[in-house]
């Protein structure tokens, strides 16, 4: 079914001046699709419009006037974690995330107020304590004052990478992300619970950072008949793994939890430092509860070190098998 008939013709008067400069790069995309096997969003939602090549086609449609901007198209363009697995692996060299950022800016200029994977701040809950501000390596959060000298935390929707570090750090729970991309705390909790309830043989939950390890973890997302004593859950940065998630895993019967993050100096968000501090504190809490602290294991892996990850998991599972399950009365203590 042709949209307008014949070859492309530009009919929209809407301006996409930033995006238009990318027309040549957009033409280079041959739509081979090699980008989407690496895309965590596609792996979660499985729609063609979630793929990097799909988003590029939408932007192409917008700049050529073939399609009109809409809230739904905006949502797709604002859904990206900027892990750059797509552009780093595009042999045609299409700078996917740079193009997305310009399309975001164009849409914002046109008055579109979309959410995507960008964080939102609930002004009623936010005390403007400022804890979140220095956390963001991309300076996507700032404190602004209005004319009445009222302060509030604002989000730069172009710069926000959707890593969710600020979400897990906000003491008031005022920062959230939209559900639907398996990144919110309730969604991650549900994932942990489902994994452990559906497979009683699972001994360990492994939280693996999307940035350092996702390309090597295709199998974990794929259907397979192989049963493993662990389940890998991909998180957007190790800094996103909050203590509640780990305790939740213990409550649901996990013998241990491993967090696999980027090595120091290599994290795109500096979330690994926060993870390290957080897990030291959590291990101390476990000691108080008479739970062996080594049930929590933090290890660093660089991009593509999936072989090293496999070995570390095997070693960790052996350790857990020596420790055995957490005793029931301790479970009760965690549950309160």
């Amino acid at each position: 079914m042709k949209l307008f008939g014949g070859l492309f013709s530009s009919k929209s008067k809407t301006e996409f001046k930033r995006s238009k400069k990318w027309e040549g790069e957009l033409n280079k995309c041959i739509r081979c699709g090699y980008c989407y096997e690496l895309c965590p969003l596609f792996k979660t939602n499985n729609w063609e419009s979630d793929t990097p090549r799909g988003k590029l086609l939408l932007i192409y449609g917008l700049i050529t006037g073939e399609i009109k901007p809409s809230q739904e198209i905006g949502e797709k363009i604002f859904q990206c974690f900027y892990c750059k697995n797509c552009s780093d692996n595009c042999s045609a060299g299409v700078p996917v995330t740079d193009i997305l950022s310009d399309a975001r800016a164009d849409l914002i200029e046109q008055g579109f107020d979309v959410i995507g994977t960008v964080v939102q701040v609930d002004e009623d809950l936010c005390s403007v304590c400022g804890v979140c501000i220095p956390l963001c390596k991309y300076e996507a959060l700032s404190i602004e004052e209005d004319k009445k000298d009222t302060k509030k935390v604002v989000v730069d929707k172009i710069e926000c990478r959707g890593c969710g570090l600020c979400v897990s750090a906000c003491p008031a729970g005022a920062i959230t992300q939209k559900e639907g991309c398996e990144i919110t705390l309730p969604e991650l909790h549900a994932k942990v619970t489902n994994v452990l309830k559906e497979n009683k043989g699972i001994k360990a939950v492994i939280f693996a950072c999307n940035w350092s390890l996702f390309p090597g973890l295709q199998l974990s997302e794929s259907p397979t008949l192989l049963k493993t004593p662990y389940s890998i859950i991909v998180s957007m940065c190790s800094g996103r793994v909050s203590p509640e998630l780990i305790l939740n895993a213990f409550e649901e019967g996990a013998w241990g939890v491993m967090v696999a993050g980027c090595p120091p100096e290599e994290c795109d968000h500096d979330g690994n430092y926060k993870t390290r501090r957080r897990l030291v504190l959590l291990k101390n809490v476990l000691k108080e509860l008479n739970i062996e602290p080594e049930r929590i294991n933090l290890e660093w892996f660089s991009t593509g070190e999936s072989g090293k990850l496999s070995k570390s998991i095997d070693d960790y599972i052996k350790k857990l098998e020596k420790l055995g399950p957490i005793k029931l009365e301790i479970n009760k203590k965690i549950g309160g």
């Binding site: 079914m1 307008f4 014949g6 033409n27 729609w47 739904e72 797709k76 259907p223």
Partner: protein
Amino acid sequence: MNIDIDKLRNIVGKENVSDDIADLYVYASDASVHHSLPSVIVRPKTIDHVQKIMKYANENIIPVVPRGAGSGTSGHTVPIDGGIILDMKLMNRIIEISPQDMLVRVEPGVVDDDLNRALKPYGLFYPPAPASSRIATVGGEIAANASGVRSVKYGATRDYVLGMKVVLANGDLVNLGSNTRVHSAGYQLERLIVGSEGTLGVVVEATMGIVPIPKYRCLGVANFENLEEAGDAISEIISSGSQPSMLELMDKVGIIAVNKAMDLNLPEVGAIVMFEADGNVKSAVDFEMKKMKEICEKHKGSDIEMSYDIAERTRLFSGRKKLFASLSKYKEGIICTDLADDMGVPNSKISQTAQKIHEIAEKNNVIMAVYGHCGSGVIHTKIMLDPKKKSQWKDAEKVVDELYEYVHSVGGVTSAEHGIGLSKAPAWKKARADIIPMMKSIKKALDPNNILNPHKLMDAPDDWVGATNLRYKVGA
């Protein structure tokens, strides 16, 4: 066209139906140059879903286009008349792996590489993997009779299909083929579905043969000053009785492109030939490699590297693996298009066909890369052009016509492993006018209302450029 979206939502759940332009616009295209909007996207998860959707579509004469990864290069899944895109990716379970029977049963949305990862611990593999195996689904591979780099030894998809469950246009479910390696019980209907490009039925389950992973694999790479010698070396390797498990060609255009895209620093010679042998006995693999090396040397192949090491083999092959996408980096302003991209020619015609391709390209103001699984007679080309110039599309039309005329004149075939779809249909119909009535009769018998992927293969328009929108903004 009136489509009851609520009815479809009732069948598969509202989360698996979309008629939003954000989805329609991206499902309008695959990896081809074509673009045409569907009316709705539906994602079935069970055989029952597919049956209900087909029954509804048949009763209401609504086109249905089954779709896997959308990696087809000739517009197979581009819905000319709109209608329903049946996105099969959610039917992605590996149902059974049977090492005893040496077969797997899979749903059509299973990704080729995922299947091979699951098979690896059993020491088994599913060989026909196309270069796009990282995303290509088994269902799509069946629809196109896909093959790949190892098909020179292991064959194409059709050689592994033992049986399948297919939902017909009217919603009926049929079991075709068997669970045995061979059968002689009536028409080989499972083979009829292979290569049918979604026009005869929707594959909802496939039983495929699998083979053991060989213990040894050795890859060699040889540089050639000119394309002619490289082509002749390939032809001689095949006619000498050698048994390569891979025999690939990459011309200078391809070498320059991958050097630019991946900083590989390959020598920019006339052509590179990659040859591989595999087996369980190392001395046998050594024997094959030595023989192929000597043939390459005889044809002035130089700087020959050979390795059993997997890391080294991956390095040597990395340029070829990503060549397709790299071609857009060849020259600024010129992009890579998938047109006339997978001809098959007899073994004796490889060298002259490769040279002819460059001759036709030069004559018509476009650049063409020549590469492919030439050991099995598959020659891949990509037409590289300025997509904004209308005149370049005219040039491309001429190239496609001339190229196919030549290929058919030497006894070759329009498509060796990607399928006909839209853009290859005019040339193929011209060359195979004799079989078109038979194909139309089969189609009419199985899909009397012509709802399954209409206007493809024998029913495709004669003007591939005008058949749909092109997915590029073309100027005057």
